[in-house]
């Protein structure tokens, strides 16, 4: 569970015991998820972990085999129509219509809400995803990043309180990905809740207030990036830049756990170690080095600790 707060009025999503089976396959396997309002939750996991199935259940687009879920306080099975009005969705692999412009797309989707957008509101939506300069270009001429931004704009047309973004940056180049992160952060600043599925660990680390790690249909760990690091990593690395191989043997002789990394030496310390003692050893060794860098573990290390594998290109690698 990603939230300790269980007051329904503060929760955007409250799912309990969700199960989704396809024959013998349990795509979602007894999932509990509590998401407070106003945060970005990253559902992090490799391809096939059940992330998309989970969000599709929460969006009301797919029916679970068992379990229950409330979105913005409403049961997704009983209040489907009401939820539709306050939830925005960017599906995985969304592609806009080639022969329509972003402005026409937005006007069309507003029409599906029975709304007619004024000039100002249209300009505001276009500006919120930085597409104002590309508003009248046919969608087939947009870049991959611009198409995703348009998808987010369409998810925002109904002015939703909760936005689901399913793998929004998959396949984008790093620059386009960072630009999209900025747009997603803006959603949080506007007070919306964002549920983001991703297999990019750095994306979850950069954006999310809460991360739920999902593997084989189950959430195996949840919490803020900082709390996950505290809970699942017990080392901190100290890198001595340019100390050379002689420095490595000196440090090992002094009882420190250290490894060589090119011209650098990396000293591993346990979370329980007194850092001043370690620094004292380094000082007494009288080594010459250009810099000292303290390296905190990353979410990638957390993932490795919990799952025993890394994610590369969306796939689990031992």
């Amino acid at each position: 569970m990603s939230a300790t707060v269980e007051d329904a009025s503060t929760l955007a999503i409250e799912a309990r015991g969700l199960v989704k089976t396809y024959g013998d396959l349990r795509a979602v396997d007894g999932l509990d998820l509590l998401v407070p309002k106003g945060i970005i939750l990253a559902l992090l996991g490799p391809n096939g972990a059940g992330k998309t199935t989970t969000v599709e259940i929460l969006e009301g687009l797919r029916q679970s085999t068992s379990g229950s879920a409330k979105v913005l306080g409403q049961d997704i099975t009983r209040s489907y129509e009401e939820i539709r009005q306050v939830v925005g969705i960017l599906p995985q692999d969304f592609e806009p219509f080639d022969r329509l412009t972003p402005r026409e797309h937005i006007r069309y989707f507003a029409g599906l809400f029975g709304r007619s957008l004024g000039k100002e509101e249209m300009a505001q939506i276009l500006a919120s995803v930085s597409l104002q300069d590309r508003a009248d270009v046919h969608a087939r001429k947009l870049s991959g990043g611009e198409k995703r931004k348009l998808g987010i704009a369409l998810a925002l047309v109904g002015n939703p309180q909760l936005v689901f973004l399913d793998e929004p940056t998959t396949g984008l180049d790093p620059a386009a990905r960072r630009e999209l992160w900025r747009v997603i952060e803006e959603l949080r600043r506007e007070g919306r809740t964002v549920v983001l599925t991703t297999h990019y660990i750095e994306e979850a680390e950069a954006l999310a207030d809460e991360v739920s790690i999902m593997v084989r249909g189950k959430i195996v760990a949840s919490g803020s990036p900082a709390s996950l690091l505290d809970e699942y990593t017990d080392t901190k690395d100290i890198r001595l830049v340019g100390v050379g191989s002689e420095g490595l043997s000196t440090l090992i002789e002094r009882g420190l756990t250290a490894t060589s990394d090119g011209e650098d030496v990396v000293i591993q310390t346990a979370a329980t170690d007194d850092l001043s003692t370690v620094l004292g050893h380094i000082s007494q060794a009288g080594l010459a080095f250009r810099d000292v860098i303290t390296e905190r573990p990353s979410l990638e290390d957390v993932f490795l600790t919990i799952v025993g594998a890394r994610i590369e290109e969306g796939e689990l690698k031992p």
């Binding site: 599709e56 029916q63 085999t65 879920a69 599906p91 599906l112 029975g114």
Partner: protein
């Protein structure tokens, strides 16, 4: 999480939706989008242009073939040639415009976004049918209508009422193939398969059907050779079978609409039951039944 009216446990979206009246604003939004998207399709523009040009060419050179010298021939005779063109091109246009309407959106992922909006699947199909129908209406009216107006400008307005009836029939004929295309689109999981099926349907209804019927006719001792001095006719069952094919129904409709005694170079005497009413009904059923089945299928579909 298992609502009692759920048609299928895993179907997307609609399973939780309560029944509600059709929201015309939503249908209008869908209609406009489908229209805009299609009229910017260069293939649709090209086919409509070919349709107009062929209509004019047929009317102009038809007179030469009839031995009356080159020039615009009378409207009533010209319509035979126009019908032949419409029989081939309208089904292609109708199928081309609609075969990807549902399956294309499934492939691009936009159908999920669409169904995540507060709209129903009935509104979705209705909006698509009406939007694409408006495109077909524009194509048919510009193809046949402009051709007809130009011809009348040269030959006089005799028979204009018949021409209006013919145009109405052509619109229903066009909607029939739009409807068939939507059904194929909702039945298939891939755009390529929908296109393959559309080609097969066109080939069967526009070309193969008559060959098969002809084969049956010859095998049962009948003949296509006219008896000198007598109006050409075929057994009633031949025409009855034709009523089940929208292409044949449209051909008979045109003959009846213009009160023609013959078509395609020889006189034809159609049986009484092949009337404006029965041929019109046949085409209307083709326009309504497939799209109804498309909705029925789409409503139960896991996307």
């Amino acid at each position: 999480m298992r609502p009692s009216d759920s048609p299928r446990r895993d179907s997307f979206g609609v399973q939780f939706a309560r029944r509600r009246p059709v929201d015309l604003r939503v249908v209008w939004a869908l209609l406009k989008k489908e229209f805009l998207d299609s009229v910017r399709n260069r293939w649709i523009i090209a086919l409509s242009a070919i349709f107009i040009v062929l209509t004019l060419v047929v009317s102009y050179f038809g007179a030469a073939q009839a031995g009356g010298g080159t020039g615009f021939q009378g409207l009533l005779e010209t319509v035979v040639g126009m019908t032949a063109i419409a029989q081939i091109l309208i089904p292609i246009l109708g199928l081309m415009i609609s075969y990807a309407a549902v399956v294309g959106e499934k492939e691009r992922g936009s159908i999920l976004l669409l169904l995540s909006m507060p709209i129903t699947r009935l509104e979705t199909i209705l909006g698509k049918f009406l939007g694409l129908g408006a495109v077909m209406l524009a194509a048919v009216l510009s193809g046949l209508g402009i051709g007809g107006i130009v011809i009348m400008a040269f030959t006089g307005t005799e028979g204009w009422e018949n021409f209006i009836v013919f145009l109405l029939g052509a619109v229903v004929f066009a909607l029939a193939f739009l409807s068939i295309g939507l059904l194929l689109s909702s039945l298939t999981k891939r755009r390529g398969i929908a296109m393959g099926l559309a080609v097969f349907v066109w080939f069967f209804l526009a070309l193969l059907f008559n060959l098969v019927l002809g084969g049956v006719l010859v095998a049962s001792g009948g003949s296509f050779l006219p008896v000198p001095g007598e109006p050409f006719t075929l057994p009633d069952w031949f025409y009855a079978a034709g009523l089940f094919n929208p292409v044949e129904a449209f051909s008979y409709f045109a003959v009846r609409a213009f009160g023609l005694g013959g078509a395609f170079g020889f006189p034809i005497e159609l049986p009484e039951f092949v009337s404006i009413g029965t041929t019109g009904l046949s085409m209307a059923l083709w326009a309504l039944v497939p799209v109804t089945l498309a909705f029925w299928r789409f409503r139960r579909q896991d996307l």
